[in-house]
């Protein structure tokens, strides 16, 4: 669980944040503007590729992607399904 969280967090820091910016597992991502709604699509593709899952479009909402903790909660619903 912690491994997944750290994996997702470090990917977001590497791909979406500017130099010197950092986030915690609870930092708002979408509502803060760190990840915009267009970029959310690439984050979704990352999650689906990395965890070999398929997240339905209806579940990939800005609210469900608004922190690392929320994302991992969503991913866990589809892992091993």
């Amino acid at each position: 669980m912690e491994d997944i969280k750290e994996l997702v967090r470090s990917y977001i820091v590497k791909e979406y944040l500017e130099e010197d910016e950092e986030i915690t597992f609870d930092t708002p991502l979408i509502s803060s503007g760190y990840v915009d709604s267009f970029s959310m699509v690439s984050l979704l593709v990352f999650l689906e590729n990395k965890f070999k899952i398929k997240i339905p479009p209806s579940k990939a909402t800005p609210e469900a992607f608004d922190s690392v903790n929320k994302i991992v909660e969503l991913v866990n619903q589809y892992i091993n399904k």
Binding site: G33, F38, N49
Partner: protein, 567 residues
Amino acid sequence: MSNFGLYEERIRDFKWSIAEKELEYSNGNILNIGWYCSDRICLKGKAEKIALYYEGFGGIKKTFTFNDIRIAGNTIGSFLRNLGIKDEDRVCLFMDRIPELYLSFLGVLKIGAIVQPLFSAFGEESLFVRLENAQTRAIITQSRHLSKVRMIRDRLPHLEFIIVVDHVVTKKLENKEIAFSLSDSPPVGNLEIFPTKAESPSVLHYTSGTTGQPKGVKHVHYSLISQYLTTKWVLDLQENDIYWCTADPGWVTGTSYGIIGPWSLGITQCVLDAGFSAHAWYRFIDDYQITVWYSAPTAIRSLMKAGDEVVAQYNLKSIRHLASVGEPLNSEAVLWSIKMFDKPFHDTFWQTETGCIMITNFPGMKVKPGSMGKTFPGITGTLLDPVTYEPIKETGKVGLIAFQPGWPSMMRSYWNNEEKYREKFKNGWYLSGDRSSIDAEGYFWFIGRDDDVINTGGHLVSPFEVESALLEHPAVAESAVVAKPDEINMEVVKAFITLKPGFNANPDLELEIMNFIRKKLSPLAMPQAVEFMDKLPKTRSGKIMRRLLHAKEWGEEIGDISTLEND
């Protein structure tokens, strides 16, 4: 009663001099938008009225009166003037929606320089081509965007000053970089306003076309006349309104109706500098008791998707007028807003080049859900036959939306691109590049673009620009970019790609290519789908047949394929 009144009466009696008279402007006078949006409002006795309620991420709140924005504009203008920035120099604003963005807009105009606002999510390549084209002399930015500027500054010989508005002393400034803190600078109470005239250049917005690099749309200070009056009549802003325009000033809506329109009328406006969420937006309206809300169909559809139960959690009764811009407003969105807010979103149609609203559903007029509405008084709009460019007489027939040139905020040129500018006119008409029909009552009904430009979430993306950037990825041999239908954004970018030898199509490569474009150009330009192909459809002369790929995405007839290359 709305400011607009009856359409027939407004059409009959219309003259642009109505706005000139209200603004106390006479031909030949000094006309400076920065002064009109701040100093003049103070002189009218509204110095202590709130001009801006700002809310940033993390609950940061700031409030500015009209006197505050007047002094802030002076202070920024004075700083720039002391650096040697002079009239008609291009000064780029590359910031998130922080107060300094809005206040710098006024400051740059006050000294007669030209504002070049750019969307802060642009990647370094998008930024580079626009700064290079404009030969921009100074850029005002934030620390978080500095890395993108640093990547390109050495390729920009005209760029002399990189001004950082939130520099912290623990970080090191590099070549050309200067720290400027508005709060730490001595306020400048009085600034000699540069005596710009009606035709002095004011704002340079960049827009994308099907081919070639983005074009710089040059506006002049006289645009104020159109922007003032359309804000008053279409957005219906009145003395006690609290107004929210959700557009970013990196795009024309964010300056015409997110700065110039409301502030020239002395109206209080709100800015929320945070990412989208339905709860955050409704809470913002509730907190500030917003009365007039100007947004975009993409946002409205996202709110619809979030569910009606979210609306019920907030007190949104303050809203009295709704308007929308950026892409066609579908009838479902209009009907939804009537159900949720007891009033319709009023569609407005216009472009970066027009500078102001051209076609709209006016307050008080019968709204036909799905229609763009009627032309603004003083605007002569028609549909042209796509072959002869003659006006179409038959009701209901589809044609090219065109306008008779001469309204105050019409672009004056494309920056350093006279040829492209001339191409926008046929038989004395300005061609919008959009197609529609007109019904028997004179309402326009949008059909689509007349070119390959992709309208995603209300922003235009050039397929050429994305295709060119894709070719810089080491795995990409050829590419073709088209619009793909999307429930929320109307259209999104889709890329068809052939790979160089030694590269294999796989999901990780797809993601890598998406991220490559997102960082290089912008999140808007990022392909939301990538399809790897063995070969792209081409004519016998080797030109990629983009229209076949477009037809495939939209489930349309593919038409004539007689020129298609055979295997």
